[in-house]
Symmetry: none
Subunit: 203 residues, 4 copies
């Protein structure tokens, strides 16, 4: 059934790579014919999209788990935990992350859909946490801008790494690069928000 197909596709995804995941190979992996896949999925994009949803369910679970241990009373710690969970997910599931946040293939599907539920859910979690941080620090700036900035910073760090664009950074730094960069970012944010730098309100 659908599950078996997705399992196989996922394994190909992670073990091989994005571009080597073909319908033929998926079919072979579950010992079916390529045509059979079309009984369960309209086309390849649908499989990709399902995989991408699977990725989001992991990401959302990881992010949820990260928050669980930390009291609501320490929003900054929660934010840090969230970011770390995101980064860890990205680096541990590169091909999946690619599919979720980089691949134009999925991108096309997303913009066709009325809404992009998996993305929204994860983003809502982040937004909520960012809002708490700001409230906590007495900052009444635009939560939306702050949230996007936080997401973008994390996405930037991991995607440059995943896309093999970190060559200009000295090699010795690579192992800790993202961790340190994120730590820096979060402390910068804390300091600035405390000193009442407000993200511009939406018009």
């Amino acid at each position: 059934m659908r599950e078996a197909i997705l399992q196989a596709a996922l394994r190909l995804f992670l073990e091989e790579s994005f571009e080597r995941t073909t319908m033929r190979r998926i079919a072979e992996a579950i010992e079916y014919t390529p045509g059979a896949l079309y009984s369960y999925f309209k086309d390849k994009d649908e499989i990709l999209y399902a995989l991408h949803e699977h990725g989001f369910s992991i990401l959302n679970r990881d992010m949820g788990a990260a928050l669980e241990a930390i009291p609501l009373s320490d929003p900054l710690a929660r934010f840090r935990a969230l970011g770390r969970a995101y980064i860890r997910f990205a680096l541990d599931n590169r091909e999946l992350y690619d599919l979720m946040f980089i691949s134009p293939r999925t991108g096309k599907k997303i913009i066709e859909r009325p809404d992009w539920e998996p993305g929204h859910r994860a983003y809502d979690g982040l937004r909520h946490t960012v809002a708490s941080v700001m409230t906590h620090l007495g900052n009444d700036g635009d939560v939306e801008i702050a949230t996007y900035t936080a997401w973008a910073a994390c996405h930037g760090m991991v995607s440059l790494m995943i896309c093999d664009r970190c060559a200009p950074v000295p090699d010795a730094l690579h192992p800790d690069l993202i961790e340190k960069s994120f730590e820096f970012f979060i402390r910068v944010l804390e300091s600035a928000l405390t000193n009442v730098v407000t993200p511009t309100a939406a018009p």
Copy 2:
């Protein structure tokens, strides 16, 4: 000559997309035979790499121009101008930006090379400016980490947009999203660096 080929490839790139830019189509566009391309470029990757270098020459020029108007005495303004030029370049040349910073095709080429001169050059410019900002603000943290963070933030903003992942952000915000986000980021950075948040020194 080479120029015509690159022009055609670039046009296909911009008008169609990355993956639809095939040797055949490039040849058709300049009304030549596919084989003719191989007199000027060893293989497709060489064309892609040339295009990617072309992109960097524009980016470097734009970044240089952005700095020209601003006195050395105001490093933060220089940093802001640099970021803006980068963002503008990305949004004005999406497919090219994709090729330069996202596409795995180019990524593979890059990591094979001993160094990645175009990338290094651009990055050096940013690093230098970031260093000036830090000096100016009396911050003696790790320039390398700060530079990467700045790049990652900008790259994150534009690449989420280019890759069509901004759906979770309210539509009304989209037109100014990146501008506001970048403005927020830069003010945060200024404030924090002034208050002596130091990026962790490398080990």
Copy 3:
């Protein structure tokens, strides 16, 4: 199915030549698309290898049939029959013989394989017969060397002919050339082995 493909490939082989047997042409011959061939054979080499095995099955059958009529008590007659069958096969199936014993394409495949079963089988038949001849004549030399010499002699005769290198031999002789040459070779061998010329033992 496979058979049809091999038939077509074989026909192209015989009617045209080795190098003109392309995937495209094979596909055309059976009125299919080139891609269809890849459902039945991994790549061109597999088709070639199958053809080569086909050739060996004919050769082995012919050689077996040749031996059937002749009593074990007359090893020399058996040897002569074997050689004649080999020669006849080569001259009747030139392109196939080329593929089996000359073409570098198949040669490469063969040396990659752990063993070359079709070749071994045929060779074993010859070795066994040569051994019988030697035993019969009371010669205890190295069977291996004698076998190779016999094979080489026959292969030399037919391959020079197949490769169109017989021009230096007077035209008038051509029709019987190989037959006479083989007859001479076999009588020479008989005479010498009887007079106890022993192939050097292996070290």
Copy 4:
């Protein structure tokens, strides 16, 4: 000039291989344009043919040299020396030997020509020596048949080796295989001819 082209082609031939010797590569090697080759040679086949003639000039020289040291009074020694020279040439110049005696490319050229002078010359040398041997041993059989048989035997030995078809012979034997096989062949021949086995006369 022609010489430079042939030199380059020859080097490609020996260092690379038959099939990698393309017009482009030859031209590159002498730092000319592909088109330039056509001022000196009608087409690729003409270059190949010239190369093949070059091969024969070496072979004829080697065979001549081999005979020089040995007195006319010992025809069998002369024959042995001739065979050895032939075999050594083949094994030392595999690609060239291929071109001279195996490749269908050259084969086609040969059969178009009225006569095949290089081949004839070499063959005449062999025929003459074989004739001496027979005279010496008091055998009045058909020299033509005997000559062809001798050539075929040698050609068979080396061409099976060059074409990678020796797998059925135990590996341990390979280093000496041809030497021993030839030695065996020659002793067989000597013994048999002495005992008056006559190659059948031509009709």
